[in-house]
């Protein structure tokens, strides 16, 4: 079995197993405002990953003793659906989900103007419907878009991407096959794109200092690409309405002239 694994070439002629280049993202699709009852929401597809994020609030934090009179609380809940992985996942929040919820919530806290909403809580619920590596960054990207959709004042968006190593090469946005490579290194990272401030950084595996520098550079580049997609998604609704409007508008004008 070990022989067979050694033979797997993760990068061949600059192409990866799924045909991507080493610095290429999986196809990313973001749509905001998908849930009518939430204050802000977002549906995201990133390769095989499928994520829905909902934002409620700022609303009064209850029970009262958790309130902070100086700033709002951020309650970020990352959950995986039972059917999101090959074997059924126990719906009970596990150690992994609690950790991801904590670090992702702290990443978003850096971006939000919390001090404007004393005694309140901003609830963010992210459900992973389908997963194929890199769900925590996908969840963060979706949550950030949902926060903007909810109109919560923010210093910047949060853009995130996974970067790492498989088969001895530094690659962007690893999928599950690459994450399972024998020498795999996985680095989920999130930044505020305007200032390039890093708000989330985790690493799993070992890298040399040179490899790390290369990975960080590639990660920042990937985050910027993700940011452009977020920007596009948030503006899309309004630009489309504008386009639709400009055409019938001329029609009505001519009609009035005819009358």
């Amino acid at each position: 079995m070990s022989k067979k694994e050694e033979k797997t070439e993760y990068v061949k002629n600059g192409k990866r197993l799924d045909g991507r280049g080493t610095e290429e993202l999986r196809p990313l699709k973001i749509e905001v405002g998908v849930l009518s009852r939430a204050d802000g929401s977002c549906a995201l597809e990133w390769g095989q990953n499928k994520v829905v994020a909902a934002v409620y609030g700022p609303r009064e934090a209850l029970p009262k003793h958790i309130q902070n009179p100086y700033k709002a609380l951020v309650d970020y809940q990352y959950r995986m659906a039972t059917f999101s992985v090959p074997d059924r996942k126990n719906p009970k929040p596990g150690r992994r989900e609690m950790e991801i919820s904590k670090v992702s919530g702290e990443a978003l806290e850096k971006a939000i103007f919390l001090e404007r909403f004393p005694n309140t809580t901003i609830d963010i619920f992210v459900e992973i419907l389908d997963s194929n590596a890199g769900t925590r960054v996908a969840a963060l990207v979706a949550a950030s878009a949902a926060l903007a959709d909810a109109g919560i004042p923010m210093r910047d968006m949060v853009s995130a991407v996974g970067v790492g190593k498989a088969g001895g090469e530094i690659i962007l946005d690893l999928n599950k096959d690459e994450e399972d490579a024998p020498d795999a290194v996985d680095i989920p990272m999130a930044i505020l794109p305007r200032t390039e401030e890093i708000v989330l950084l985790q690493m799993d595996g070992l890298l040399t200092p040179e490899e790390w520098k290369k990975a960080l550079k590639l990660g920042l580049k990937g985050c910027k690409q993700v940011y452009e997609v977020q920007k596009e998604a948030l503006r899309k609704k309004y630009l489309e309405a504008e386009k639709e409007e400009s055409e019938p508008n001329t029609e009505t004008a001519t009609q009035e002239e005819g009358e």
Binding site: R59, A111, F113, D149, G151, P153, D156, Q230, Y238, A241
Partner: protein, 206 residues
């Protein structure tokens, strides 16, 4: 005129200017803090948000719904972060849970709790909800949009700054359709004329 749409953290102006709503300054540059439309002239820079919650402000007229009666007054939901309190002291009418009132905000404290005054009670009618950031478009310049809605639907309308619209009489079905249209197209110009035409068309067809 086409206005630029910005997202949170996007640059609004590189010059030093008066900082308006929904913008913040960092290292001498002005950035947006919300998804909205840019208003930028030689004096000041601001962003009109397209989404968001209601922030109570002094002298705002709001429409509230009574949530609970207490010994001394009523607890009123004004669609903000907290419920507000209205004293029974100067009130002739007895209210119930679900009663609709309008009130002026007398003061707001540092945690955004609002104190209400000048309470008026509404009997009958219905409430139409809209995003609070879009209320200025429902009123229009010199209340032109409200006038158009009143003429077009024959309804009595009260618009609260907190995103609640009270309407009684007339064609409220048509009114809620028109308000939905305003909400969807709030970022486009020449909206009042469009709504006037829309109402005319609907009335002619009926």
């Amino acid at each position: 005129m086409k206005k630029k749409i910005v997202i949170p953290g996007e640059l609004v102006s590189e010059e030093r200017k008066q900082v308006g709503s929904h913008v913040f300054m960092e290292n001498g540059k002005i950035y947006s803090d919300a998804l909205g439309l840019v208003y930028n002239d030689s004096q000041d820079a601001s962003v009109v948000a397209l989404h968001g919650k209601y922030f109570p402000q002094r002298d705002d007229l709001v429409i509230g719904i009574v949530v609970q009666e207490t010994f001394a007054g009523y607890i009123v939901d004004i669609n903000s972060f907290y419920y507000s309190f209205v004293s029974k002291e100067f009130m002739r009418d007895r209210l119930q849970r679900g009663s609709i009132i309008s009130a002026k905000i007398l003061s707001v404290n540092e945690i955004n709790e609002a104190e209400l005054g000048q309470v008026r009670v509404f009997y009958g009618g219905e409430i139409i909800n809209i995003s609070p950031v879009k209320v200025p478009r429902v009123i229009g310049k010199n209340a032109s949009m409200m006038e158009a809605l009143k003429i077009g639907t024959g309804a009595n309308i009260m618009v609260g700054r907190n995103g609640r619209i009270w309407a009684k009489g007339g064609n409220t079905q048509l009114l809620s359709e028109a308000i939905k249209k305003i909400e969807v197209e709030s970022h486009l110009s020449n909206l009042t004329n469009k709504i006037e035409n829309f109402l005319k068309e609907k009335n002619n067809n009926a």
